[in-house]
């Protein structure tokens, strides 16, 4: 039986318990890890467990029998009072979360050393009926450890977010820096190349042979530097996602013939001729013309510079369902086994030595791969029967929609 409040007041704490079973239940409640108190229909507190005694520093005999609002005058008219009333009047159960109700009851830990710390609380309010009477059970859970855990989590998550932002910033700065520097280098270099070109052509007066030779070397190297800078600019555009593609229908045969023509002179340096096998007239692929040419130029120039003198480079076009494969086949020395996995990386060259016979910086295939993939294609290479290498790209056929 639940004790009658006036009864308790008169006889004090020890008398709350009426029977041996109640005595046992009272002990159980006192051992609870939660704060428990019971309010009757007159809004009086009729049960106050040991946890509440400790946390509130209010003795049981001072609380039991008193009205809820007299024990907690600051809570008059607050949500806790409203939900206690609702539990008693309409038998509604309520939850008061710690996040939406900061420190509901004035409850404290007493730390060793005297400092008091407010207990973070989560509160439930439940209606109970017994022998025709309505009561309201208020339970308080100490969620301080959970609050502390989430505070740590919050700090960590914020730090992680900041670190990510910093990293993104740094990488943006890096690519902006690269692209600005490259632009700044290109302008003076272009004018150096122009001037050297004029001198080399002899319009400024005939050059002594030794001077002519030196000027030619300067011209070559300026040219190389310009190519390198353009490649670096491309890479920084690719990495920052700023390389623009104008996709559309492209007549494959026209583009192949143009690329071959553009590389003819280069091929002649290595005594290599390009040979284009039959392409069905009107074969149209879906691509960006300039970017596709850039890829083809690299494959054609690679094929020439890694071919022995006097042999051909074959260009084949094969249709595979909705895709078109363009193959560039050379009869050179092939790609060393241990180099195959690195060939598309930046600055990677099979012969990385300074005494290399052929020019280039090892950026061509890296850029080509990025371009082809941007156009939803694939780039790769095969080792054919006999000598050499086949580099191929697969790109989409243009479909009328």
């Amino acid at each position: 039986m639940l004790p009658d409040a006036s009864h308790i007041n008169r006889y004090g704490e020890a008398e709350i318990i009426a029977s041996p079973a109640d005595h046992l239940f009272g002990k159980v409640l006192d051992l609870s890890e939660n704060g428990l108190f019971l309010v009757d229909s007159e809004r009086k507190i009729i049960l106050w467990n040991e946890w509440m005694v400790q946390a509130s520093s209010l003795k049981r005999e001072d609380v039991v029998g008193s009205a809820f609002v007299d024990v907690f005058p600051a809570l008059k008219g607050r949500r806790v009072e409203t939900v206690i009333n609702a539990a008693l009047d309409t038998r509604t159960a309520s939850l008061l979360s710690r996040s939406l109700n900061k420190a509901i009851f004035p409850l404290y830990f007493s730390e060793i050393g005297g400092e008091q710390q407010r207990i973070e609380q989560s509160v439930t309010v439940k209606p109970i009926q017994s022998e025709g009477h309505d009561y309201c059970l208020v339970q308080i859970t100490d969620v301080t450890p959970m609050v502390q855990r989430e505070d740590v989590l919050r700090v960590l998550a914020k730090e992680a977010e900041e670190a990510l932002q910093e990293a993104e910033e740094a990488s943006r700065f890096k690519s902006e820096f690269t692209s600005t520097v490259s632009h700044e280098l290109r302008t003076p270099l272009t004018s150096i190349r122009g001037s050297l070109g004029l001198i080399a052509s002899g319009v400024m007066g005939t050059l002594k042979p030794e001077i002519g030779r030196l000027i030619a070397i300067a011209c070559n190297n300026t040219e190389r530097l310009l190519f390198l800078i353009n490649d670096i600019l491309d890479i920084s555009k690719i990495e920052s996602g700023k390389m623009d593609f104008v996709m559309g229908p492209v007549d494959l045969k026209v583009v192949l013939l143009q690329s071959i023509e553009a590389n003819q002179a280069y091929g002649e340096q290595y005594e290599v001729k390009y040979h284009l096998n039959d392409v069905v007239d009107g074969t149209t692929v879906y691509a960006d013309t300039d970017r596709l040419m850039q890829v083809l130029n690299n494959l054609l120039s690679n094929a020439a510079k890694f071919s022995p003198k006097g042999v051909e480079v074959d260009i084949n076009v094969i249709r595979k369902d909705e895709m078109i494969r363009i193959e560039v086949r050379d009869y050179g020395s092939g790609i060393p086994e241990q180099f195959k996995s690195r060939i598309f990386e930046k600055f990677s060259q099979a012969d990385g030595s300074d005494t290399r016979q052929v020019g280039g910086t090892g950026l061509g295939l890296n850029i080509s791969k990025a371009i082809v993939e941007q156009m939803s294609g694939v780039i790769g290479f095969n080792v054919p029967e006999g000598q050499g290498t086949i580099f191929y790209i697969d790109i989409c056929l243009f479909k009328e929609t």
């Binding site: 309409t90 939850l95 939406l100 209606p127």
Partner: protein
Amino acid sequence: MGMLEITDLQRDYITEVLNISMGSAAAVLSEMVDEEVSLSVPEVDFLQRSVAANKFDQANAARMSGVTQAMTGALTGDALLMFPEEKTLSIVRILLGDTVPVESLTEMEQEAMCEIGNIILNSVVSSVADLLKKEIVSSLPRFIKGTGNELFSVETGDEDDLVMFLKVDFGLESQSINGYVTLMLNVDSLHDFISQLDEQISAA
């Protein structure tokens, strides 16, 4: 029978009653978070359990999360408040302000959502109890997530049960977040409900 036909008059009356109680729930929430919160019920339907579950899965391919309370007394069953999962996240984070930037709700954020759901569901349940002039006791709220079908536990429920299906607009910081409240009604209590409704309409 997929849907219970009620008259426009009945529907208007329920909608009005629910909107009044939602208004007071919104006022409680506004005061708690010191921010303008609005709640309204634009639509009320009575559907068969399985029909309601399907309606859910079709309208929301994404996963839902929300709060449930068990009801006993004049109605036996579950009351549910549900939002698409990412909406639940934004509701809690807007209301709490200071948040942990992780992908799902933390324990304490779930507890806060339970309280929000508790306030809303209690107001719906109490206005239904008022209409029935009977007592409905509801349990404490519990946080749940899953698809519409899972949340409805169609397999375990009684096929004949009807679901009172409310659309809820949760207005927060000039956003309007759409969610649902559902109450399971057994057929008897529904008939009760309708006749009480008619009585009150004619009294009004």
